[in-house]
């Protein structure tokens, strides 16, 4: 399963780069990779414990974070999850959360590949 990275999002980050400052794109992708596992863990625990509010908050966070780094598929999935959690639709949450970790890992791989290419 291949996951594509939205170039527009990356360009947006790079355009915000100011000369002499640490590389913004690296900082943001690093932040994404370091913060997201915790968020995903929260989300999955929420699904396990049927805590829809925890699911919603986590989905919302990951939705924004993934959108910034151009992981559009992941962001879309989180958006659906957020909606399902908001609607208290537990079965939908379970279905959407099932392969979320895989999608995240694929997205990270795609992102790394894209960045190494750039470097």
């Amino acid at each position: 399963m291949t996951v594509s990275i939205d170039e527009k999002a990356l360009k947006a980050i790079m355009s915000l780069q100011r000369p002499g400052k640490p590389d913004l794109l690296i900082r943001i992708t690093d932040l994404f990779k370091s913060e997201s596992p915790k968020t995903i863990a929260n989300m999955l625990e929420g699904i396990d414990t049927v805590d829809m509010e925890a699911v919603r908050v986590a989905a919302h966070t990951l939705k924004s974070a993934s959108a910034y780094v151009g992981a559009s598929e992941l962001s879309e999935r989180c958006k659906d999850l957020e909606r399902a959690a908001h609607d208290q639709n537990f079965p939908a949450c379970m279905a959407l959360g099932d392969s979320l970790e895989d999608l995240y890992n694929d997205s990270c791989a795609a992102l790394d590949q894209r960045l190494s290419k750039a470097a």
Partner: protein
């Protein structure tokens, strides 16, 4: 810092107090924070971060940021709660807050505004647009601040000045007004006032009608107007004085469609003016007018006295031994004494008004002034007096009243006063000299012993004393019958028969002997004693005549003089009636003599009294005829029986052809009007002959007889026929 200085050119938002405005960005999404930071710092902002609502509040207090970007959904405390909390902070009330919400989350947008967000932005955030949005928000915040500050300054200025403004739409009658307008009028919070008509109802009558009239007229004429009126304040219900200014105002379409104006509470100003006036013109201890006020009153009195040729008096007084009271009992006791003295002075002067009242001056109250010059010195200004004795009488009352004991604290204190009096115009013709004369007179009075009064002019003083004692004596004379009647006969010039007698008053003073009627009659008139004296004369004259008639003497009229005071100030008809009833005399035999000038004074009222006299059946004659200026038509209307030609015409009859002509004219005229003519003061045979030649009816004078007392008159009567016959036959 000026607008074109280099620093201001660099400013992101000109006018903001920070060169680089601080933006507080609150988001739990660190990526979002990083990207926004890049965009904002690039555009000239400093950025601080918070990852939840609670941290946002802490950061806010710490850094006082110029603007907040707030994410909606966050752990610990979400964005809505944070906004609500920040808005409650002192510095947070007006800080612009940009809320970040989901793209299609309408609920959040609405809620954000409800909690106090300034604007919103949807996710995903466009970080290129963000700095522009932030800049725009800061600019509009400055504009809003300036407006708020200007509004608040205006509010404060209006509050300090107690000045409110208003706008009246003439078409709809609607009225809009500032906060202070409401406070000035005393409109309670929440009470609506939406029209000019409702506003006018706050105004007290009679001002309300006035305001309505003036405003209607000004609207009609498109003229500015100003007016003052009273309203009842809301807090204490005390009346407040308001000044309103208004100006017509043209709408953009060129029509006069508004009145713009202000109202200002001027109560304090008016009170201050009153207080200043009181401080300037009244004595603080006694509340009496002070020297300044007295001087003004004196100037006015002087002007009035000059114009009306009236007299006024200044009584200058100080308290004897006042210093001792002050020294032994203290200044408070001294002040207390001064207050009580002031009260007594005012009371005496007011009573004097009532006593001298009825003298045509209804506002006598305002013509007299009691003032304190300072220390223990007072001045009483008697605005109008008839005679110097009036002032002496008031001085005596003052001296008596002041000398009564005072309760000061727990002690009884006695003081006396010494009074100096100056009388206008004798003692000075300006305010300074009048005051000085009174002052000097007071020192004279002190020299001659305290607790007394002294006139400035020795002659006035003596005259006043003399007239005082004469007045007292006359009072006694009337009571103890020192007065007697004298009788002077009149004869018929054709037959020589006795036509009547005139009763005259004589006063035989036990010490001074005979006092001339020309001395005591004017005194009796001035003091009003003439009324009692006149009653006595009427009764005695009627009684004597009745007595003679009962003794078998021939019937003849008895003439009694009536003074103008009796005529105008007493019920003369009642007195005549009483005398007739008491004596039993036939009214036909009583004749009342009135002077021509008296009748001229009183016009219609005089004619009425004359008619009443005629109705009693008595006879009326006009005395001293020819000295007044009666017109022929007036004479014709008078219901009288006789004219007495004044002796001044008779005196020079032999020498002065003019007098002869007048006498002839009077006699002819009188006969045409069916009046009997009596010549007074006939002293010589020649006068008698001439008058008889003119067909004069009766004569009276030394040629016939001097006035005689009762015994002399009895003797005269026994032999009169013979005497008269001789004179008549000797023609």
């Amino acid at each position: 810092m000026t607008a074109n200085s280099p620093q201001s050119m660099q400013m992101v938002v000109p006018g903001l107090h920070r060169e680089r405005p601080i933006v507080l960005h609150v988001d739990d999404d660190l990526a979002s924070l990083m990207m926004a930071e890049g965009a904002l710092e690039d555009s000239g902002f400093d950025v601080i971060h918070a990852v939840d609502g609670q941290e946002a509040i802490d950061r806010f207090n710490e850094h006082e940021p110029d603007l907040i970007i707030m994410d909606a959904v966050m752990p610990v405390m979400d964005g809505f709660q944070a906004i609500s909390a920040i808005r409650k902070l002192k510095l947070g009330a007006h800080v612009p807050i940009l809320m970040i919400t989901g793209l299609d989350d309408l609920d959040s947008i609405t809620r954000a505004y409800d909690e106090g967000a300034t604007d919103f932005l949807t996710k995903p955030i466009n970080f290129f647009i963000l700095p522009h949005r932030v800049q725009y928000m800061l600019r509009s915040k400055l504009t809003a601040d300036a407006l708020r500050s200007s509004q608040s300054k205006l509010d404060n200025a209006q509050r300090i000045a107690r000045l409110g403004n208003w706008e009246w739409c003439l078409g709809s009658n609607e009225l809009s007004w500032s906060r202070e307008f409401g406070r000035v009028l005393g409109i309670e919070e929440g009470v609506s006032l939406e029209t000019w008509t409702e506003f006018v109802e706050y105004i007290e009558e009679p001002d309300r009608s006035n305001v309505l009239l003036i405003s209607e007229q000004s609207v009609e004429e498109k003229q500015p107007f100003n007016v003052e009126f009273s309203v009842l304040g809301n807090s204490d219900g005390a009346q407040r004085r308001i000044r309103l200014e208004a100006e017509p105002y043209k709408h953009e379409n060129g029509e006069w469609s508004y009145m713009l104006g202000t109202i200002q509470d001027i109560t304090e100003r008016i009170n201050a003016q009153k207080q200043i006036h009181n401080l300037a013109y009244y004595d603080l201890v006694t509340g009496l007018p002070n020297r300044a006020q007295l001087t003004e009153q004196l100037r006015y009195t002087l002007k009035l006295s000059k114009r009306n040729s009236t007299k006024f008096a200044i009584l200058f007084l100080d308290l004897d031994h006042f210093k001792q009271v002050n020294d032994t009992l203290g200044h408070d006791a001294g002040d207390d004494l001064l207050k009580q003295v002031a009260k007594r002075l005012t009371s005496v002067v007011r009573q004097s008004d009532m006593i001298s009242g009825g003298d045509d001056d209804d506002d006598a109250d305002s013509q007299h002034t009691v003032a304190r010059l300072g220390g223990d010195e007072f001045v009483v200004l008697l605005g109008v007096i008839n005679r110097a004795e009036d002032a002496a009488r008031v001085a005596e009352r003052i001296a008596q009243s002041i000398s009564m004991p005072y309760d000061i604290g727990s002690s009884a204190v006695s003081v006396t006063t010494t009074i100096g009096i100056s009388v206008y115009p004798a003692d000075g013709d300006d305010t300074e000299s009048m005051m000085k004369s009174a002052d000097v007179a007071m020192y004279h009075a002190k020299e001659s012993g305290r607790n007394g009064y002294q006139f400035y002019s020795r002659s006035i003083h003596e005259q006043a004393l003399t007239r005082f004692s004469l007045e007292a004596d006359l009072r006694v004379a009337i009571e103890t019958e020192q007065l007697t009647l004298a009788f002077q006969p009149k004869i018929d010039m054709k037959t020589g028969r006795l036509a009547g007698v005139e009763a005259l008053t004589r006063w035989n003073h036990p010490e001074k002997g005979a006092v001339s009627p020309s001395d005591f009659i004017p005194l009796a008139e001035e003091t009003g004693l003439i009324i009692e004296l006149g009653r006595w004369v009427l009764r005695e004259a009627c009684l004597q005549m009745q007595h003679w008639i009962e003794a078998g003497w021939p019937s003849m009229t008895i003439a009694v003089n009536c003074s103008s005071v009796q005529f105008t100030k007493s019920d003369i008809i009642e007195d005549i009636n009483a005398a007739i009833a008491y004596s039993g005399l036939d009214p036909m035999l009583l004749e009342i003599e009135l002077t021509e000038s008296l009748l001229l004074q009183d016009g219609e009222k005089g004619i009425q009294i004359l008619s009443d006299m005629k109705a009693l059946g008595i006879q009326v004659s006009i005395d001293d005829f020819g000295t007044g200026f009666s017109s022929l038509s007036y004479l014709k209307r008078l219901p009288v029986d006789k004219l007495k030609i004044d002796q001044s015409f008779v005196r020079d009859l032999e020498k002065d052809s003019g007098d002869a002509a007048i006498v002839t004219a009077i006699i002819t005229l009188s006969h045409n009007l069916n009046l009997t003519v009596v010549a007074e003061g006939v002293e010589t045979q020649e006068q008698f002959n001439i008058l008889r030649g003119f067909n004069c009816n009766e004569a009276q004078g030394y040629l016939i007889s001097y006035p005689l007392d009762i015994e002399q008159f009895s003797l005269w009567l026994e032999s009169y026929r013979e005497q008269i016959m001789q004179k008549v036959s000797g023609l």
